[in-house]
Symmetry: C2
Subunit: 228 residues, 2 copies
DNA sequence: TACTGTGAAGCTATTCACAGCG
DNA sequence: CGCTGTGAATAGCTTCACAGTA
């Protein structure tokens, strides 16, 4: 393994999806002053099995020490690098309803690795407002703003009916990573990644499991002891 | 449990996770007045392969007609029933910051199958406010309110530091389905389902793929033709 | 010794390809 | 015929169990 070892494109998707959890667990440990963890401890912290964690980390390289564990700071650094969070990715959010507003506020402070560089909305009453320290621009200027500010990731928080159009315009000016909060499937050309976050899908999955739980377990009233 | 044909607990998780998408696709088709679809068409609408769709639907039963396809209304009805959306599940949202506010507004109108019956916050300035047509209660009354209003699904939109406590209190009064928006892993006993929605995880996954795309494809400037 | 990294096994999910049926 | 439903093949992921090592 040399420097950046031969552009490892062989990391499984399932592993990539867990790396952020490991990174968060490592950050927590680092804040608590922990310097070293075993796979068992880190796995517990991240909510996975230790064998799974070790397999995942083995895809990144050999960063553990047998008989000891992993050095927290070093492993966090390696995962940060692998995820591409050593730099700040410029993000644009389109659609500043309740959800877009919340996303702007959240991204404005909570997340390392990303920087919100544009907020865009269609409503003339919203354009010009300041949200999370940034002035909302007009979605009509999307192409210019995305290009000028080198936006790499587009976040779509518009109603479903507008989402495909916004997506197409992002893609047309070179954005190849899209996070979609609208309740619809987006069509994109080869090479563009779309991830969908959908509240109602998540609730519906919970409802399915809730419905299929044993009725007996559903009688919960006797468990309660109301505080005086 | 009889009535529901042979308590089919054998529906794979991956299939359950796609049923909401099929349901949405079917709703769209129904609104457009389409009465019947082939697996090919419905799969395209939902963004999956047709073989995958047919396999998924086969877990629910045999609701198609060979040589013809699926009747839109009937299939939508079957999926609705299977997901447990024929009834309305009572939902409580805890934490009414920007995100909780957005969730309350979204659930207040957009979703069938769920009804927000409680909004709770810890901040005395927020308690008593009206959000999405509902008065915010105090998180101190969580046990009483959850019990009285028969809450089945708890939505946690608090800061990470409070999430585990809120979750424990939900579980203690019998809630067994939790949707967690806080950036932490929740520990729950056997029989309780937690689903996590995490914006920064999603962005980090996009960043990983963005970073691993070919540098050549990253030169997007020449593609732009600025509107005059 | 106490742990990691990994071959091998087992399991789950997807896709192919076609028999079977309206 | 044209489509669904499904056996069989394939691909991908997780877990076991232990050899290897600081």
């Amino acid at each position: 393994m040399i420097a950046d070892p031969a552009a490892r494109q062989d990391i499984p998707d399932a592993t990539v999806a867990r790396l952020p959890q490991y990174l968060r667990a490592l950050s927590d440990l680092a804040e608590r002053g922990v310097a070293s963890v075993s796979s068992e401890e880190l796995a517990a912290e991240a909510g996975v099995r230790s064998a799974n964690l070790r397999r995942d980390l083995s895809h990144l390289g050999s960063y553990g020490v047998r008989g000891v564990g992993y050095e927290v700071e070093m492993l966090a650094h390696e995962i940060t690098r692998e995820l591409g969070l050593a730099q700040d990715w410029p993000v644009a959010i389109v659609g500043l309803g309740n959800l877009g507003h919340a996303l702007a506020a959240y991204l404005g402070l909570a997340t390392r690795g990303f920087q919100v560089v544009a907020l865009l909305d269609r409503d003339p009453d919203v354009v010009g407002q300041e949200i999370a320290g940034m002035i909302v621009g007009s979605v009509g200027d999307l192409e210019r703003i995305v290009t000028e500010r080198r936006v790499a990731i587009g976040v779509i928080a518009t109603p479903a009916v507008s989402a495909q159009e916004v997506c197409d315009r992002f893609v047309a000016v070179g954005v190849r990573s899209v996070l979609n909060f609208a309740a619809c499937v987006l069509s994109v050309p080869e090479g563009v990644d779309v991830r969908k976050v959908d509240l109602s899908t998540e609730l519906q999955i919970l409802a399915f499991h809730e419905q299929h739980k044993t009725p007996a377990a559903q009688e919960r009233m006797p468990l309660l002891e109301v505080a005086p």
